[in-house]
């Protein structure tokens, strides 16, 4: 039986400590800026701090704890060797402005990583600057705007996306100042070509698409989609959150995509760190190269340089050169896996997903609307359970926690009622997949009250998130 560790861990400021407010005045500091008393941070001993955070770590679930099948998040195992190498001083303790001759190793990694990502995606050039997928999307929109403005095509103020799109897509579109147009999916769960044709016009700047989409379905009409978009003079954008499904099998560049972002913290096994840091490199076709952020990395006579002179460049979207530590880990991962390993990763990611899907559907406890063949993820519906027993997707997610399993993504994509979005990744063993499958099937037959009152084996019982929003307490001073 599973039971999580449990601590009634006090907040840092509740641990007994001493405090002296009085501050020593520095007379040479301008009077208007002199501090009157010390910043209120508890003074603790190192032992107390270590125990505090170790207790906290023990009431937290990571991939190293168990399966983490969050759909569209690609929570795969993060090889330890990547962490180890990325922690070497010769990488961590280098300054972005130190003399270029003394950071040739860093530039080599960035240069080579750009080439690797180009090959994997079929794009011509990459920028490694974005710090996250959504940040990459935003760069994609800036490049879109720069491209159309350069061509004096100034009335394109709309971006189209399907109703299955990740939440970051519409948020990015608005943030970039574009008008958002959402089109419905077909009964297959794919892009509705008629709706696309109707929505697209000489006002369309771009069509954003995830392929395979968030239902895990490959958009088989991608050739026609590409044609429709390009005939209208718009650009085709690839949200690479689901790249883990197709490495070495197909490439967005070959599908006609003009701009691509990748999530290195998904597909390329860098840890998600409880929320970040991530990295969202953006690849483009040659016609968009001149707009990429500066600096670009150039190799000449076996030496690497930063090039800042790029008059059409959009400039920058982040300080310095992006999240180098994450880039380095992805470079190490690709080096370890090689061409065969990456292809094998995608093949097994898709196999694991279809294996789970098939086994779960055979139980007839859950339904799966839309097309049957899925890629690296699939989306179940618990609508039947809701109607028959009043159990919701949220309840099932919480009950899975009692089995020591991390639940899937829930309530997304929005076009599936009571959605459970499951992405096992290639790094889970068959026995771990089986455990998850069994738990999910067993839960469907459990006492509804038990499920609705779950979880019970976790450090806290079901958390009241509505109250957290209704009465926001976001620092210890507000308690």
């Amino acid at each position: 039986m599973y039971r999580s560790a449990m601590f009634d861990e006090p907040l840092l400021n509740e641990i007994p400590s001493y405090k002296i407010d009085k501050i020593e005045t520095i007379t040479t500091l301008p009077k208007s800026l002199q501090r009157a008393k010390k910043v209120d941070i508890p003074n603790l001993d190192e032992t107390q701090i270590v125990r505090h955070f170790n207790h906290l770590s023990q009431i937290n679930y990571g991939i190293d704890t168990g399966i983490y099948p969050l759909g569209s998040c690609t929570m795969k195992y993060n090889p330890k060797i990547c962490e180890e190498i990325a922690s070497w001083d010769s990488f961590t303790n280098t300054h972005p402005y130190q003399d270029i001759s003394t950071v040739q190793g860093n530039l080599e990694i960035m240069f080579e990583l750009e080439r690797m990502l180009c090959e994997i995606t079929g794009m011509d050039y990459f920028s490694l600057q974005p710090a996250a997928g959504a940040h990459g999307e935003f760069l994609g929109m800036l490049l879109t705007r720069a491209y159309h403005e350069f061509n004096n095509d100034n009335k394109r103020n709309e971006v189209i996306l399907p109703d299955t799109a990740h939440g970051t897509n519409p948020a990015t579109v608005t943030m970039a100042g574009y008008k958002l147009i959402e089109i419905p999916s077909t009964k297959d769960g794919t892009v509705d070509l008629d709706s696309l044709e109707k929505a697209i016009s000489d006002k369309t700047a771009c069509f954003m698409l995830t392929n395979p989409n968030t239902l895990g379905i490959f958009e088989s009409e991608i050739n026609r989609i590409s044609k429709i978009v390009h005939n209208a003079g718009a650009l085709l954008y690839y949200d690479g959150a689901n790249m883990n499904a197709i490495m070495g099998k197909a490439r967005p560049g070959d599908m006609g995509f003009d701009i691509v972002h990748l999530n290195l913290h998904k597909t390329f096994a860098t840890p998600h760190g409880g929320g970040g840091p991530g990295s969202g490199p953006v690849g483009v076709k040659i016609k968009l190269e001149k707009f990429l952020p500066i600096p670009r990395i150039v190799k000449k006579n076996n030496n690497y340089f930063f090039v800042y002179n790029a008059p059409e460049s959009i400039g920058k979207i982040k300080g310095f050169y992006g999240n180098f530590s994450v880039l380095l880990k992805a470079y190490i991962y690709i080096t370890l896996m090689g061409k065969n390993g990456l292809q094998e990763a995608s093949e097994i990611a898709v196999l694991n997903s279809n294996y789970m899907k098939e086994k779960i559907l055979r139980s007839k406890k859950y339904e799966m609307p839309y097309k049957k063949l899925r890629k690296h993820e699939f989306v179940l519906s618990c609508e039947k359970l809701r109607q028959e027993k009043g159990i919701r997707a949220m309840d099932i997610a919480k009950r899975l926690l009692d089995y020591g399993l991390h639940p899937p993504t829930i309530y997304f994509p929005l076009i599936v009622k009571e959605a459970l979005m499951i992405e096992p990744t290639e790094t889970e063993s068959k026995s771990d997949l089986d455990k998850f499958i069994d738990a999910l099937i067993r839960i469907a037959d459990e006492d509804p009250d038990l499920i609705k009152n779950s979880p019970k084996n976790t450090p806290v019982k079901r958390v009241d998130e509505v109250n957290a929003t209704r009465n926001p307490i976001t620092t210890w001073n507000m308690i």
């Binding site: 002296i20 955070f53 991608i222 197709i246 929320g275 300080g319 976001t474």
Partner: protein, 449 residues
Amino acid sequence: MEFIPNSNLKKQMLEEIGLKTINDLFSDIPKNIVINDLDLQNGLSQQETDKKLRKIASKNKSLYELLSFIGGGIKPHYIPPIVKSIISRSEFFTSYTPYQSEASQGFLQAMFEYQSLISELTKLEIANCSLYDDVTALAEAALMCSRINRKKIFIVPENISYDKKSVLKNYTKGADIKIKEIPFDIETGKIDINQLEKNINNDIAGVYIENPNFFGIFEDQINKINKLIKDSDSLFVVGIDPLSLGIVKSPGEFGADIVIGEGRSLGNAINFGGSSLGIFSCKKEFLRQMPGRIIGLTKDSSGKRAFSMTLQTREQHIRRGRATSNICTNEGLCALSAVTYLSWLGSDGLEKLSKINYENGQNLAKKIETIKGFKKMFSGTHFNEFVIKCEKNPNDINKELLKNNIQGGLLIDKWYPKLKNCMLFGITEIHSNDDIENLISKLKGVSNV
């Protein structure tokens, strides 16, 4: 295959689900775009990978081999081993965004503590649990000001970093916000307050002031600036160096509405400029306009204290096209470093650290000024960075220093043509007196050539 446990079970698993080959799973990809192979190298073993990376690493010189005095907002600091020990707990670093509160109490509580400590530093009521970096945090602040007061002009000093200017322009373009730059006073290095007064009016969404500023100078006319901003009904955005706050007033104490800053120096390695940690804090009244994730304290169904993400209705995964920002992945683990580091420092440690940084800054500047051909450019009081005007070409000076394994100051005339032959020096608590003497003696050597 390594990291892919089911490699050897392909046949069995395919059979169990009624398929024959792996390619049956990819039959929905149109033939014309199917590829068989990637043009990449074959994978290496862990041992071979280690060897390959050691060779690449040897082409770098870390700041342990190279004594660095470079400024520009990013400098080496001492990181106590406790930080690595905590952030290497893999329950933390291999976890996702804490959507499932019950399985994420540890990280959630740590982020709640991070928000609390940032709020103590800024003396504003609330903080989020990180943005990408200070640069994008400034851009988000400009957008937030405009969301709050519907005005469309944002004022920044001329002497913020190039990165900040460029990112700000890119982020605000979509919202149609105009950026107006206020020149710096060439004597003091502070913002030209007369110019600010001339340009401020009721159409200004927000005003950004950096303290210390990009030249390392403290903006001590802060009370007057605050009055100008409040009188014009605009919002006051302040950029901080968190390590200065052990001795310098918190922005909340002189009228700031929003505070942004770079938290890399709070226990995070330099890492060639990334990762980074965008600090974002503001007044409570703006809670619902704030970008990024916020962790809240609540209770579980038995009434026990518990933590969860809060106000998610501001965020992209709920609000989609009407979210306050598109940010999803942030810099969580860097925030964990920061909370560990700050609790290791404590209030006493932070004061001491700020003081050493300030004193080293004064000491180094004084010593450089004694050398012929080097002059402090500005009269304003500085923290741990400062601008030196050189008689000789600073590029040549840096080349000479590099021969002695010293990294000199940052050349800044490419961004500020008014500052020809100027270098931005930076120093921190890691520099000993011997390090300072080392630089001084080499600079003397250069000036005598």
